[in-house]
């Protein structure tokens, strides 16, 4: 099979499709090495308690139990996390949430495991606990981490722009509201899984479902007290990630287990219930907005107070808050702003990275406020947005400079001319009996990459093999979004090769090169840039060598194509295998380190917030529209039609692009309408997929995706990050549609049928 010679821009089939669809692709959960042991943990029953004693006497001798481990068996710092290393692999002095791991057991089979976990007795001294972040900030609240000067405040700060609060005095219209945002559980289908063993050379080898193989290795070295080079982490294809595997899940426990298994491999695979209990979630939060504008519809001032609950440990709470604050003024020029943010420890389950990274929480509020403000000054909701959104060169209300491609205006214009928008009134008026309809829109943005927190680096490596094929050593995990197949497409474009001339190696710290995480809409942007250059260097080497071998005088006269090099004028060719044979092994490998640019523009945020990643430089933009219909008898909402217009730069592969948009929009609909991960007094109430309600195929419509193709000159072939922008807008777009249908906004999400019916009832009563 030969694909097009310029694969960029075409729907080249994903190279990972066939093995996955045949059931042959091995995910971390699919490894059952010979003679393996199961590893599992006993978790805390208390949200906050001192560990007074652990009685293992009934367990240690159980037949089939190979080892029972506590924090005392850990040689290293027993702390994981990034950037804050505050989470123990196994709890030592105390437990900080109901679910904290305390004792690790290695057993021959699951039945013995269950018995052993049951028989472990832990003596706790229960401590007062705190579950509401505002309470946790109050004087005298129980403190989770005594060594911290800021008590329960993980990170806090403010962004001030213009005159801040004073500016409200000259506004003609002001709207104020407080929004309650729920937890969202990633609910990837593959729960946390992996295997580990110590090989003959003493290297601890871990194959895990992880978005961060390189970071894991460093964290594991610190936590377990091993040299970095004695740890190898391999990241096969993930069965979903979405941020939930952005960091260590089972890897610390697996590593510890393998160090005590007498050389036997160990396997961990969490049950769905355990995954819900112990994995991170999207931060729940409270967002208080006040936004003011002038009579003519010019936005003038915004204030926003964000409180996020990070739970027992920091995880990525700092960067999530920084991103929430950065996105708090949306894609609008607002001259005066005051954004305050607090990310707070509580004795709840841990929150961390989740697609969107803080932006969904703030845009949910802002975009509803914008609608309310437009209504108040009787201005068309879309025109109001068009009047105020940024163009390239502008600053957002948060002082973030739009120095790069900025396509929000074309996004809004595409929606404006779409029949769903043009015919909104007619459609709403056609609602049948007991039905109420509304049309909602929302607009927003999402930064690409880490911002000025840590260097946003990818190291790509590509090799010309002796048979004339190429091998790409991926440094970033593929959790399903298709960056690995896209790598083939990028390298294929540069090297003129069809897809079947490539082999793809999944990230493996033993043979690929260090790269940042698969997250933050950066995966293809950053690694793709590195790979593009690495491939270009290799191409030059190949062509030069072909000249050396007498194919031509100038490299410009040569054309690389699948498996060979052509001389354009004479038509002569040399197989790539021959060229490979004439190169040394080192020459055949090309690698390149790319660091994504960050904004150097002076900004108004405090140093803590800047260190957590504020501000970004490259942004994706979008405008979404939802047509919703409410059943007036039951409160159920149906999203009848959905339009997503996205500026994520050039479209490298239309099919993969649509996959991201459709999947992200539906995950966002879940956040908007059904997904309500409930925690009460530190206890998870939605324990499994029966009570945590994910959208099924019956609950969602087809999504219409329209790209706006700006060219982002810093991105490979003009692209920029797409993975996250799509999840930011379904909640506000749907909420705005629902508000039209009901005649009032609901500030607490998700907008469950229950919430809607109760609201309708209240409205009738008034």
């Amino acid at each position: 099979m030969t694909g097009p010679l310029t694969p960029i821009g075409t729907s080249l089939k994903r190279t990972d499709g066939p093995s996955k669809i045949r059931g042959l692709e091995k995910y971390a959960a699919d490894y059952y090495p010979a003679n393996f042991l199961w590893a599992d943990v006993k978790r805390s029953d208390h949200p906050h308690a001192l560990i007074k004693g652990i009685d293992l006497s009934h367990v240690r001798g159980l037949p089939g139990v190979l080892a029972v481990l506590t924090h005392e068996d850990i040689k290293g710092a027993n702390r994981i996390g990034v950037p804050e290393m505050d989470q123990p692999v196994l709890a030592d002095q105390k437990v900080c949430y109901k679910g904290d791991p305390v004792v690790l057991v290695l057993a021959e089979n699951k039945a013995v495991m269950q018995e052993a976990l049951h028989k472990i007795e832990i003596d706790y001294e229960v401590l007062p606990a705190v579950f509401d972040p505002e309470d946790a900030l109050a004087e005298g609240a129980p403190v989770l981490h005594e060594n911290r000067s800021g008590k329960n405040l993980l990170i806090g700060g403010a962004i001030e722009h213009g005159n801040g609060m004073e500016a409200f005095q000259v506004c003609d219209a002001i709207v104020e509201a407080e929004f309650d945002l729920p937890y969202q559980e990633h609910a990837y289908l593959e729960t946390e899984a992996g295997i580990a063993c110590v090989d003959d050379e003493g290297v601890l080898e871990i194959t895990a479902s992880t978005q961060t193989p390189w970071r894991d290795r460093n964290e594991l070295a610190y936590a377990l007290g091993l040299p970095v080079d004695s740890i190898r982490v391999i990241a096969p294809y993930l069965g979903g990630g979405f941020g939930g595997k952005d960091g260590i899940t089972v890897q610390g426990l697996l590593g510890l287990a393998a160090l005590h298994s007498n050389g036997r491999p160990v396997k961990m695979w969490t049950s769905r219930e355990e995954s819900f209990l112990a994995s991170t979630k999207r931060h729940p939060g409270r967002v208080h907005y006040r936004v003011g504008c002038k009579e003519d519809g010019t936005l003038h001032a915004v204030s926003c107070r964000i409180v996020l609950d990070t739970g027992a440990y920091a995880s990525l709470g700092g960067p999530v808050l920084a991103l929430a604050m950065e996105h708090a003024a949306g894609a609008y020029r607002i001259p005066h702003a005051l954004v305050e943010g607090f990310c707070v420890y509580t004795n709840n389950p841990v929150s961390g990275a989740f697609r969107g990274f803080g932006a969904p929480q703030v845009l949910a509020g802002l975009e509803q406020i914008i609608d309310m403000l437009a209504d108040k000054i009787r201005m068309d909701r879309l025109e109001f947005r068009l009047k105020n959104v940024v163009s390239r060169g502008d600053e957002t209300g948060c002082g973030v400079w739009m120095s790069n491609s900025t396509g929000i205006i074309p996004c809004l214009e595409k929606v404006k001319e779409h029949p769903f928008w043009v015919q909104q009134e007619e459609w709403v008026n056609q609602a049948g009996p007991f039905k109420q309809r509304g049309v909602g829109i929302a607009a927003g943005l999402q930064g690409t990459g880490y911002g000025p927190m840590v260097a946003d680096i990818a190291n790509a490596k590509i090799e010309l093999l002796s048979d004339g094929h190429f091998r790409i050593y991926s440094g970033v995990a593929d959790m399903g979004q298709g960056n690995n197949p896209t790598n083939v497409q990028i390298a294929g474009e540069v090297l003129g090769q069809a897809a079947d001339y490539f082999e793809l190696l999944q990230p493996d710290t033993a043979c690929s090169l260090p790269s940042g995480s698969s997250s933050a809409s950066r995966t293809t942007y950053t690694f793709g840039n590195a790979l593009k250059t690495a491939a270009t260097i290799l191409k030059e080497r190949i062509l030069t060598r072909a000249c050396n071998m007498g194919l031509g005088i100038y490299a410009e006269d040569l054309l690389l194509s699948s498996g060979k090099v052509f001389h354009l004028t004479s038509g002569r060719e040399i197989p790539l295998a021959n060229i490979a044979a004439s190169m040394s092994p080192e020459e055949r490998i090309s690698s390149y380190a790319y660091t994504a640019p960050v904004a150097k523009h002076p900004d108004s945020a405090g140093s803590a917030i800047r260190a957590a990643g504020f501000p970004h430089r490259v942004f994706a933009f979008a405008c979404h529209l939802a047509r919703v219909e409410i059943d007036a008898l039951t409160g159920e909402v149906e999203v009848c039609d959905y339009l997503a217009v996205t500026d994520a730069g050039r479209v490298l592969n239309p099919q993969i692009y649509e996959q991201q948009v459709q999947g992200g929009a539906v995950q966002g609909m879940g956040y908007a309408l059904w997904e309500d991960f409930r925690v009460e007094n530190g206890e998870v109430l939605t324990r499994n997929l029966a009570s945590y309600i994910l959208p099924t195929s019956m609950d969602v419509p087809d999504i219409l995706s329209l790209p706006v193709e700006t060219v982002e000159e810093t991105g490979p072939f003009g692209m920029k990050g797409l993975g996250e922008i799509v999840i930011n807008l379904p909640l506000p777009a749907i909420a705005n549609g629902v508000a039209w249908a009901l005649g009032r906004h609901i500030f607490t999400s998700p907008l469950t049928a229950e919430r809607i019916l109760l609201t309708m009832e209240k409205r009738q009563a008034e």
Binding site: S11, K20, G23, Y188, L189, Q667, A690, M698
Partner: protein, 156 residues
């Protein structure tokens, strides 16, 4: 206890524990890891297999219940490298992202197309409503089933 059944056309005689679930038998004993487990309690469809051609959940079946029956798993759908038309259209239409739901989706689709060779989109959505997918938003899966159905009708 000894059980006899066929797996993708092959006879199997196996000794297994009375409380062994079918999903564990397939994955751990027989190395057929294409059948996934994502909830263990019937709520996701990832473990769907065909028993005598009918879709069932391997996480809610005990191995003993396979006695005398014919089991088809995802590994039995393709003939070597040659994909089943359902698998082919899943790949073609971009219905596979992380792929963890895909084997279950394919098995559920096989059941559907036996019963109804020309389902419309709504019928497809109904038939797959217990197969959760967290990546695709379902749309390309529906596209793939539509196109596989057309293909299989043409071939028939």
């Amino acid at each position: 206890m000894i059980i006899h059944f066929t797996l993708n056309g092959e006879n199997k005689n196996l000794d297994c524990a009375p409380d062994c679930r079918v999903v564990d038998l397939l994955r751990e004993e027989l190395g057929h890891t294409g059948t996934k487990e994502a909830c263990g309690s019937g709520e996701c469809g990832a473990c769907t297999i065909l028993v005598d051609g009918i879709s069932k959940l391997s996480c809610l079946m005990l191995a003993a219940q396979l006695e005398g029956h014919a089991v088809t798993t995802i590994e039995g759908m393709s003939k070597g490298e040659e994909l089943h038309p359902i698998q082919k259209s899943f790949v073609e239409k971009g219905a596979v992202q992380c792929g963890f739901c895909s084997p279950g989706m394919v098995m559920a689709t096989a059941d559907l197309l036996q019963r109804n060779p020309s389902p419309d989109r709504k019928e497809i959505r109904e038939a797959l409503s217990g197969n959760l997918c967290r990546c695709t938003g379902y749309q390309k899966i529906i596209d793939a089933v539509e196109s596989a159905a057309a293909e299989m009708r043409d071939d028939a």
